[in-house]
Point group: C2
Chain length 338, copies 2
DNA sequence: AATATTTGAACAAACGTTTGTTCAAATGAA
DNA sequence: TTCATTTGAACAAACGTTTGTTCAAATATT
């Protein structure tokens, strides 16, 4: 580790003070009336020595990090990875640095992660939470840290969020199935405690009941391929096999397809599928899958807009709770029953 | 922003010095013979006040961050997102923090990103580089920063890397096509300057020539869906249409499939496909796609092992350049020509 | 009882910046 | 020439930890 170049090295080299060097290098030359010549020579020497400022010293003194953080449940899920990529690009454009964290769908890890980020003086948080607890989030929020939840949120908390109207989305999906003559529908859910899941289940049940359907099946308990696979395997053994599956995420659908393939059940001839979340590949599958697509780009953009307006203390009256309408994308995975 | 709790607050509350508090809170109590009672009361008060150490102050003094960083070209590509997720979990187990950065496939961003990370005293780098330049990487490497490249590397540099044997992989794929009677093969490549791409092209050409095939088509220039789509659209207009496509990444394949679907060309009846990179969905496509699968988990694990042995100054004689064998996963996208 | 050793904890100096304030020199005005 | 103003830059005190060293009290040894 070659001994690093410090401001004082530049000061000595140029015969100027650390104060002056610091002010030039942080772009405050005009403000403090540093001479043109001094500016120039400082910049030259800094470049020549390949000076990289010590972020820790700077932050310790100034308190400013220009950094915000994004916590996602797992980057293994393309839905979240995609969000991470989108947000990363936007944040950079705004002159901030983004620290991306993967909480591994584990609340303890999430809590730890938040602690570390706070101790790193992160100035704002974008969180897709991993559990049903939110005390740790409310704690930092109440300390005044700008913060916004994406996708997942909490009903009995008023932490700000941008999400999809999962309730409506589920109703749309369910009604679509019912309109196509399906009355026996198995809904494979994700993490029971997560709000999106709750809302989707609520929408599903509501739509079923409204149509007078009482035979309601909700199964499963995880947004994973594994869960989709297992539950599908099981439901194929029911004495009265459902005619349609409503999968509550793209990962669950992936598992469904795996199980169906193994059992040689054809979509949509033998069973129909509709899923939450869109993805490019859904269009190229053996049977393109009809889905409820979330407006991911919008969620990200609005989330960032919200966060930065907080960050800049803009007092615009933006609502703290935003629900965006999902889209029904009709493809070929739902059969019209006669 | 409520004024944060500092070590001195705990010191005052407990009647002890900041020195003692610091030593207890960083687990050096035994080493410095702090009394049991003192330890206990300090820990109690720290918890009670919800003390979060100021990472910047600590690092500034100690120089230790326990942080390593991962730079990927884009999290939008599941291949990289997957790597990020895998590495994140492993790193955490090792008691380190991982900062994940997305360079957006842009070398300037990558350079900036590395600068920021260096100024954050990151102790090690895992990089999947985005361009053909590597001076900036060699610079930090020569400063003694532990570093390893994953997947992509540079031929005329001896930066350490863990990668797939892309040359062999391409030969395997090409021979597989040739064995199935294909002689007119279009190879859709990714970023020309990237080493994996170069090696794959080299393998492709080598295998073709070895079989006496001189009609070699290499087209395209990006690891993107867009590129796969456009090039496929174009090649379908050739007067002599190739009987097989060798796509050099999963994203390119995605674009291929989109184009083929639009033109109503069936795989493998009308055209065969083989691709680099495996993914769960490849199995569920209309035609499951035969692929050259990279040993991603191994790449990550070996990469981390390498990095941490450097980090801990273990002088084990580990090679700096590791090439792992890819696997041919045979599915249904290649037709036997008669 | 006198000396040596152990135990427990504090002093004070870093770490590399940023920043409110002061100060001298140069310039302009009268 | 004298006083006021502008210009350019330095002083020195933070920021919140960590850590080499010192020191007093308590205990053990002779």
């Amino acid at each position: 580790m070659s001994s690093k170049i410090k401001i004082i090295d530049i000061a000595e080299r140029t015969g100027l003070s650390t104060t002056t060097v610091s002010r030039v290098l942080t772009g405050k030359a005009k403000q403090y009336r540093i001479g043109k010549r001094s500016q120039q020579i400082i910049e030259e020497v800094a470049k020549e020595l390949n000076y990289i400022p010590n972020h820790f010293a700077a932050t310790l003194k100034s308190g400013k990090t220009n950094t915000i953080s994004l916590i996602v449940p797992t980057l293994g899920n393309p839905f979240f990875a995609n969000i991470a990529s989108l947000i990363n690009n936007e944040v950079r454009k705004l002159g901030y640095t983004l620290i991306i964290s993967d909480s591994n769908e584990d609340i303890e890890t999430e809590i730890l992660e938040i602690q570390q980020l706070v101790s790193r003086n992160v100035e704002g948080f974008i969180i897709i939470p991993s559990g049903e607890n939110f005390e740790h989030i409310e704690q930092i929020y109440s300390q005044g840290l700008p913060l916004v939840l994406l996708d997942r949120y909490f009903e009995n908390s008023n932490l700000p969020y941008i999400s999809t109207d999962n309730y409506q989305g589920a109703i749309t999906a369910t009604k679509y199935l019912i309109e196509h003559g399906h009355t026996s529908i198995a809904c494979i859910q994700g993490v029971k405690s997560s709000t999106p899941n709750k809302m989707r289940i609520k929408g599903f049940k509501h739509a079923m009941q409204e149509e007078g359907l009482t035979n309601i099946h909700v199964i499963g308990d995880d947004f994973s391929v594994q869960n989709g696979y297992q539950e599908t395997k099981l439901l194929l053994r029911w004495k009265e096999r459902p005619t349609a599956i409503f999968a509550l995420s793209n990962t669950i659908t992936m598992g469904c397809l795996k199980a169906l393939k193994e059992e040689n059940i054809k979509v949509p001839d033998d069973i129909s599928i509709i899923t939450f979340d869109d993805h490019l590949y859904l269009d190229f599958l053996e049977t393109p899958i009809t889905c409820i697509a979330q407006p991911v780009e919008h969620i990200c953009k609005i989330g960032l807009k919200y966060l930065f307006s907080k960050l800049n203390n803009e007092l615009e009256l933006i609502t703290d709770h935003v629900m965006l309408r999902p889209d029904l994308k009709i493809r070929n995975s739902v059969k019209k029953m006669s």
